[in-house]
């Protein structure tokens, strides 16, 4: 039996227009705690992860192009959904005009949710040769203004169409590493804001350990080597941690260049690896391989491998979304984040 190839047929990205510079934090708090982040994206008053998921879903479908009526599976990823109980996908399915019989899932409990949703789409298409999955990750994580964890938190979204047809990037395989780890980034059910215990080394050792293990087991599983990859996309809580992981895996800053987004957009939570993947796709050339490595506290990491087989690019590309911006000051930021009640 010949192996049926599946993968990404189209994709789209969106970044909110508002930005805040790290200098604003330095003025307000005396310091800025997110390494390598010089500014970050902020959602406007009338935006949330659902309006962004709707936008990138529409763009991803238009890039193929594919009628919304053809979608048989929708998966949504975010850690900052506006509701804790309610089918979030309903808003997107309804706003896009997807079939009401599509199977839907909401992935919301960690920053790994992006690859969790992407894998749900992959598995659907592998199991249903005529199926077509739409995956959207949108996030704008929230923490207390008193927490240094808050400094890096940004906003952004990406959407992907997965199918058997007309591929841009072929899916080559995945591997996961999961273990029990606690006391890093978390949100108890009655809290609105994420927190950490600010024990940096303890959190980072889990982050580095899990991502390295997932990536190594993927390379072993599918028989690829470091030199086969042109782009490496790693979860970006800041702009520095991914570099430490890349080095441990035998990659250099060059591999990270195309998907380095935290410096201009901040920590995109569950959308981090998917917006990073979109950025890598924007830059990739025919035949390039992309390695994607996510991380979610608690803890798990997914590694996925893609190979570029088509020339199609997102419109607008990530660069034009990043360049379209309007700066706000820290007081405006506090108002938009609902930090002043």
């Amino acid at each position: 039996m010949t192996k049926l190839s599946i993968g990404i047929s189209g994709y789209g990205v969106a970044v909110p227009r508002l930005r805040i510079k790290k200098d604003e934090y330095a003025k307000a708090w005396g310091s800025f705690q997110a390494s390598g982040v010089s500014e970050k994206a902020v959602m406007g008053f009338d935006e949330d992860i659902l309006t962004f998921a709707s936008k990138v879903s529409k763009r991803a479908l238009a890039s193929v192009p594919l009628e919304p009526g053809k979608v048989t599976r929708f998966a949504l990823a975010s850690t900052s959904a506006p509701y804790v109980e309610k089918v979030l996908s309903g808003t997107i399915v309804s706003s896009i005009g997807m079939p009401d019989g599509a199977f839907v899932s909401d992935h919301t409990t960690s920053s790994r949710a992006g690859t969790e949703a992407l894998m749900a789409g992959v598995e659907h298409v592998l199991a249903n040769p005529s199926g077509c999955a739409l995956v959207a990750a949108a996030d704008a994580p929230k923490a207390s203004m008193w927490s240094s964890l808050e400094h890096g938190l940004g906003a952004g979204a990406a959407g992907f169409v997965l199918s058997h047809d007309d591929l841009v990037a072929e899916f080559e395989g995945h591997a996961t590493y999961v273990c029990e780890h606690f006391g890093e980034r978390f949100r108890p059910r009655d809290d609105e804001l994420i927190r950490d215990l600010n024990v940096k080394k303890y959190a980072q050792s889990s982050f580095i350990g899990a991502t390295v293990k997932a990536a190594r087991s993927l390379l072993e599983k599918i028989g690829t080597k470091q030199e086969d990859y042109a782009h490496v996309v790693i979860q970006q809580p800041d702009a520095r941690l991914p570099r430490a992981i890349a080095r441990k895996l035998g990659f250099t800053d060059t591999h990270l260049a195309s998907s380095s987004i935290a410096g201009e957009l901040g920590d995109l939570g569950a959308a981090s690896t998917l917006v990073g993947l979109a950025a890598a796709l924007d830059a990739a050339k025919m035949g390039d391989r992309i390695l994607v490595i996510s991380y979610g506290s608690g803890a798990a990491s997914d590694a996925m491998s893609f190979k570029i087989v088509g020339e199609r690019k997102a419109d607008p590309g990530l660069r034009s979304e990043v360049d379209r911006k309007q700066y706000i000051d820290y007081i405006q930021y506090l108002k938009l984040k609902g930090a002043i009640k």
Binding site: D46, T51, K55, P82, S95, P316, K335
Partner: protein, 141 residues
Amino acid sequence: MAHVSVPMYWRTIPQRYRMVGQRCRKCDAVNFPPKGVCKYCNASFEFDEVKLSGKGKVHTFVLIGAGGAPPEFAEQEKAGGMYPVAIVELEEGPKVIGQIADVNPKDVKMDMPVSTELRKVYSEEGVIRYGFKFIPEELSR
């Protein structure tokens, strides 16, 4: 705008989320938002559903600020500042009212091309009311 109950708002989801209007079977005019009787020929209540492009141009507009917002938009005005509300002439013909988002209010112009996207309109009873707003055409795609 007066209070809109949750069930009443829910019934308008197709028009608010994805610009579903109606084409009159008698005079062929497009009604948006949907009506009981065709607004153009006043003689028919039979329609076919039609999905509008969401594209149009600013027919006229006003900037709402300095406490001028109705109660459901008061918080938006306080947090985000002055916001533009426009009557937009859609390319299918109807003129509809809506906010223009993602724009510096001072940059709104008559005849400016706009398109629609999903936004939070306001929240009431803990329920977020989503719906279309207009955005400058060059930002859509």
